[in-house]
Amino acid sequence: MEYVILGNGIAGVCAAETIRGLDSEGSIRMVADEPVTPYSRPMISMVLAGEVSEDKLPIRNRTFFKDLNIKPVLGNRVTGIDVDKKEVMVQNGASLAFDKLLIATGADPRPIKAEGMDRKNIFYMRTQAHVQEMLKVLPDVRKALVLGGGLVGFKAAYALMQRGLEVSMLITSGYPLSMQVDEAAGGMIRKELEKFGLNVTVGMSVEAFEGEGAVTGAILSDGTHASCDLVVVGKGVRPACSFVPGDQIDKDLGIVVNEYMETSVRDVFAAGDVAESMDISRQEPWINAIWPEAVAQGRVAGANMAGRQVPYKGSLSRNVMRIFDLDLMTMGLVNPPPDSEFEVITAHDQRRKTYRKLVFRQDILVGAVLINNIDQGGIFMGLIHNEVPLHIPKSLLAEPTFNFKQLVI
């Protein structure tokens, strides 16, 4: 059996491990553009912050490929797939035949439209290489501008503040993390960030960058000028699937997969940030480009590729971050349409400095935002993921004493 895996991110790695666990004989080839052993992408910002050394990034041994008898094809992007011939074409001109193919190419940073993007010291933050580049210029910069109030923007801003830079953040929407939290939590987060010295501007974007060679400033959407000598663009990601023939393999926001992580073409699978699957809380197809879903999808895809039918329940958005003294956990559907069948319970305790928002569809929890007191968050995840009908008063979930026992009377 010839397995080809495109991408050596966590989805690809988990798929390879699962395949090898079920099929010790088959040939596995992994094609990836990053020429490194698999590493923890979510941790790159910690390297930027100086909290973690680069040698802590790899999530598998240096001998990973050898141990699992995988043939790596690294430093190469895939340029196309010939579905009929069951071949993938690689940047270096080679073509690889497959019996089973996994597309786990992940996502690329979403580019922004602004003049002067070619100035130096304007970065995306997606790969270890991006961070290495930033680290090189760090000694020469003082004033950073972070575009985007999403997770990447936050992590970048936090890291640069840890490095002693003066950091300003521009957010297009009305409050930070608008994709992850509601307005109340967004406000608390903004306050916390400002308390620790971050300049936050909402409802603002960049029109153009200035500078001879290196960036020296930006013209903002209201016409004002902001000086800066480092820019990090964190405006989200988009699936890296331009090489996938859309006329043969169904694409929507990403590559559409069924419950076995298989695409519209037999024997071609997709997993991780590139795959669009059913979102459990939204009840519609969605891309949840997050680490734990990449792990789960990679494992499911790998099992199915190796001939063991394992269904995938669906994906769920979720995130956890520590923002200075404030812990944030968010999961599922947190901003339901205002009309609707959804019931929302919020609890804001000013003394304990906690906030909880819980969203229910009838008796089923579909989303939650937790600020501080996040230890029990995994229970909420379980409830959302397994769509467990609640038999206890919903308000109990909002109380600080809520714990597992209360679910198992």
Partner: protein, 629 residues
């Protein structure tokens, strides 16, 4: 989060202040109660013992783990020992409070207590009579000295029985004699209780519990009774008065001083000091319209009974009163003062003052009061409070905008008898005629385990609607006052018979008889009723109830009620369920021993049915008409 506060308390002012406490980052008793969950099951069942250092020990209530302590004590012995230690602590508290009053009485007699006087010489003489002292030709001060000495004898070990037992009906005294629980000396019984529970002394759980009853009786007919009677002698027998209750009694434009605790010895001098023209003038100079003295807890009850001083709140309100940010000073004496309140006050300008060397608190300034210096000390403190008015942080002040509730207070036994026209007969006739079915003393504390004031107000609503006269003391009386039960308008909530009788007498359906030490006024009243009827207390259609009790003192009170023949209901469960033998004795077996038992029921609606059933049963036994409960 507001919904949480609905679950904490039935009181509007309480809910508002809980919200403010959250905003002001102030921790409350409810937060701490929540943090303590789950509470230790060994302790809840009474099965943990740390009386010695072979231990500590615990017995597995499921029967598989250890069933005996290191010493060999089984569940029955451990539970009984623990319970009697609660009784001993409660009895000690009341009785030591009584002793402090006797000492003031003695100092007055010796002329060493300026600021104190004999306010009620008649009562002094009546008491001397009961103590067998010749009164003719002696002046008040001489009698005061002799009475104080005689009372001190009651505390010792030289007597065969406590003097005021003579007030109990003969039948009752015969029962005590027969069972062997006649209290011999106030301190002696507490001391013996501690001795018996030392490892290797009394290991018969029945014998331990019977001594517990004796210890409680030494409180009810001894220490507590002395406390109340001497307070009346020194500060006057309470007479009906009108007052106000709830947090609305604090005044934004005045210097607010709150007294908290139990013993009127300190607070009485504060009352006088607050009326000082010189200090009132100083208050005006500081921009205040006056000096507003209010009470909380039982010190508040003492002052309300005798002076109509307004009441700001009960036990669970004591922290919240400070959260108004409008209190210049809180002066405490002892008992039920949460050690947290010094810290609560830290968030505001409030000066916290402790006054007794046996009750010191973190975050409080200590100003030792003695009979010799009390009035001067009180003036000094009130002056400090007035000066503190300017330190008030206006941004932190928020007195909930609630209208103070009018209250009729001051219903001492003497006042009740007076209202009845000089003798208990009209009350007896009303009971015989069935217009009043009976009487219940609804007494006790607050406990965060029960929604604040819910147990009290719900139970009393049912009782008065069923023509049962309610007498209250302690924290219950504050709950009732705030709920408006102590007004003539409340007669509208009373059953037709109760409404008719109380209406004719001009008294509310719920009578404020005092602080928690004043529960003895209820004993005196039921004894007088039994004596008038020629029966035992246990024959009367009466009951006791502590719907939200928490303290060791409440255990002692409940035990002296039951040992005196009064069926007594408890809201929260005492720590006895580790021994079903102890449970059965207390809830069933005691009927054959002292003619009364305990019942435990947290739901006030159900409790009211239990109590009503008991009262109708007693009516039937007396040959009176009885309703189906």
């Amino acid at each position: 989060m507001d919904a949480i506060y609905d679950r904490y308390t039935v009181t509007e002012d309480g809910r508002m202040l809980l919200k403010k406490a959250e905003k002001d980052q102030v921790e409350t008793v409810w937060d701490r109660h929540e943090a303590q969950q789950p509470q230790c099951g060994y302790c809840e069942t009474g099965l943990s013992c740390r009386n010695c250092v072979m231990g500590p020990c615990r017995v597995d209530p499921f029967g598989e783990g250890p069933q005996r302590g290191v010493c060999g004590a089984d569940a029955d012995i451990i539970v009984a020992r623990n319970l009697i230690r609660m009784i001993a602590a409660g009895a000690a508290s009341h009785s030591d409070h009584g002793r402090d009053l006797v000492e003031v009485l003695l100092k007055v007699a010796e002329g060493k207590a300026p600021g104190y006087a004999i306010k009620d010489p008649d009562k002094l003489r009546r008491l001397c009579g009961e103590y067998g002292l010749a009164v003719d030709g002696k002046d008040d001060l001489t009698l005061a000295g002799e009475l104080a000495h005689a009372m001190q004898e009651d505390y010792g070990t030289r007597q065969s029985s406590v003097t005021l037992l003579s007030r109990a009906p003969e039948q009752r005294r015969a029962i005590w004699e027969k069972v062997g629980i006649v209290p011999r000396g106030i301190d002696r019984e507490t001391s013996e209780a501690m001795h018996r529970t030392h490892m290797g002394v009394d290991n018969d759980w029945v014998s331990i519990l019977l001594h517990g009853m004796r210890n409680a009786l030494s409180d009810g007919w001894g220490g507590s009774m002395i406390a109340t009677e001497v307070s009346d002698i020194l500060f006057g027998v309470p007479e009906p008065n009108k007052s106000l209750a709830n947090i609305g009694v604090l005044k934004e434009d005045q210097v607010n001083i709150v007294v908290h605790g139990h013993n009127p010895v300190v607070s009485e001098t504060v009352v006088t000091a607050c009326q000082s023209a010189e200090l009132l003038k100083l208050a005006r100079e500081k921009g205040a319209q006056g000096i507003n003295l209010v009470g909380v807890c039982c010190t508040g009850n003492e002052l309300m009974m005798r002076h109509g001083i307004p009441m700001a709140g009960n036990h669970l309100m004591t922290e919240l009163v400070l959260v108004t940010g409008a209190v210049e000073m809180m002066i405490v004496d002892y008992q039920c003062i949460m050690p947290s309140i010094g810290q609560t006050a830290d968030c505001y300008h409030t000066r916290m003052i402790s006054t007794s060397d046996k009750a010191k608190f973190p975050g409080m300034e200590h100003h030792e009061f003695s009979p010799e210096n009390a009035y001067e000390k009180a003036k000094e403190l009130v002056r400090t409070a007035v000066e503190n008015f300017s330190a008030r942080n206006k941004n932190r002040v928020a007195i909930p905008p609630v209208q103070p509730q009018e209250v009729v207070s001051g219903l001492s036994v003497e006042a009740i008898i007076k209202a009845l026209g000089g003798a208990p007969d009209p009350l007896i006739e009303a009971i015989k005629a069935g217009k009043i079915r009976g009487a219940v003393g609804v007494v006790g504390c607050n406990n965060p385990k029960i929604k604040h004031d819910y147990g009290h107000t719900q139970l009393t609503t049912q009782l008065i609607a069923n023509d049962i006269l309610v007498l209250d003391t302690g924290c219950v009386s504050v709950a009732h006052a705030k709920a408006g039960f102590k007004t003539l308008e409340a007669l509208e909530k009373a059953g037709p018979g109760l409404k008719e009788i109380c209406g004719a007498l001009g008294i509310p359906p719920v009578l404020h008889v005092g602080s928690c030490v004043d529960n003895v006024r209820i004993l005196v009243l039921v004894a007088a009723l039994a004596n008038a009827l020629g029966c035992d207390i246990s024959d009367l259609p009466v009951a006791g109830s502590a719907p939200e009790w928490y303290s060791e003192k409440a255990v002692s009170i409940a035990c002296y009620f039951v040992a005196s023949g009064v069926f007594t209901h408890l809201g929260p469960m005492p720590p006895i369920t580790g021994s079903m033998n102890v449970v059965k004795l207390l809830t069933e077996g005691l009927e054959d021993v002292v003619g009364a038992t305990f019942a435990v029921e947290a739901d006030p609606q159900k409790a009211s049915r239990v109590i009503i059933r008991h009262i109708e049963k007693k009516r039937k036994a007396l040959g009176l008409d009885a309703r189906e409960a």
